[in-house]
């Protein structure tokens, strides 16, 4: 067991256990906090995969942006009459069975395939090369995504606004 292996299993346990809290907790705030720790764990896995810029992006956009947005959604869509903030589950056991089946099939596929993997390259900073790629090979998708973000901004503001009566 190298340090890399130990770190991987630590992050894997962290991510999966907080994801399980997110899925199985009944209190919706616990769900959100479970998702928070899952996203942080995924950022750690990105670092282990040598994606330093992506890990920072994950922390900024997911943890700092999307999660706060989800918490806003939770707070604005509950009736605070009493302390009731439960999320019911519907037909949990059949769903567990189906999802365990899906996971088993995927894991079996992953194990049975012999990926032609050689050893991973040395980790190197990726920021400069990512910036170059975004400004050369991926310039068109980059611009399209900026238009998409503008459309999402306008659309979200339009949909969420209270209708004048």
């Amino acid at each position: 067991m190298t340090t890399f292996d130990v770190m991987f299993y630590l992050f894997a346990a962290w991510t999966l256990s907080s994801a399980a809290i997110m899925v199985f907790a009944r209190n919706i705030i616990y769900n959100a906090i479970g998702l928070l720790f899952t996203l942080i764990g995924v950022a750690g896995l990105y670092v282990m995969l040598g994606a330093d810029f992506l890990a920072a992006t994950q922390m900024l956009i997911y943890v700092g942006g999307i999660l706060v947005l989800l918490l806003f959604g939770v707070m604005l869509s509950q009736r605070f009459t009493g302390l009731e903030m439960r999320t019911d589950t519907l037909r949990l056991w059949p769903a567990l069975l189906v999802c365990a089946g899906v996971a088993a099939i995927m894991i079996r596929l992953i194990m049975s395939n012999s990926w032609s993997v050689s050893t991973a390259p040395e980790m190197a900073p990726t920021v400069k090369n990512l910036g170059l790629l975004l400004m050369t090979d991926y310039l068109i998708p980059f611009e399209i995504v900026s238009v998409l973000l503008l459309a999402a901004l306008v659309g979200a503001a339009f949909i969420a606004r209270r209708e004048a009566r």
Binding site: A12, L49, A51, I110, M111, W115, A160
Partner: protein, 103 residues
């Protein structure tokens, strides 16, 4: 135990995907279903980055990972706007009750 490689990351992503799927199909609260969707997106993203590191040895996978995060952010914003609109109309975010187009 074999040293940690591509397969370990793929299996972890598969388990995360399955957990997200459970949240999507069992939860009744629309916001929690959205959290499940975010979990699934993250699982897919781990696969992108793992393949980029172990098979491609290039940064293309990471660029796609960035695009995935951006589109997920846009999707979350619009989906939450829809959830809030639903709440204003139905006074509930229970997906079982959102079965009518009437005002």
């Amino acid at each position: 135990m074999s040293p940690v490689g591509l397969q370990h990351f793929l299996i972890l992503a598969a388990l995360l995907f399955a957990l997200g799927l459970i949240a999507v199909i069992t939860k009744r609260n629309a916001v929690t279903v959205l959290m499940g969707v975010e979990l699934i997106i993250n699982a897919a993203n781990i696969n992108f980055i793992a393949f980029a590191r172990y098979l491609d040895k290039d940064l293309d996978g990471q660029v796609f990972g960035i695009f995935v995060i951006i589109v997920a952010a846009a999707g979350a914003a619009v989906a939450l706007a829809i959830v809030l609109n639903l709440y204003q109309r139905m006074h509930s975010v229970d997906l079982d009750e959102a079965d009518s187009l009437a005002r």
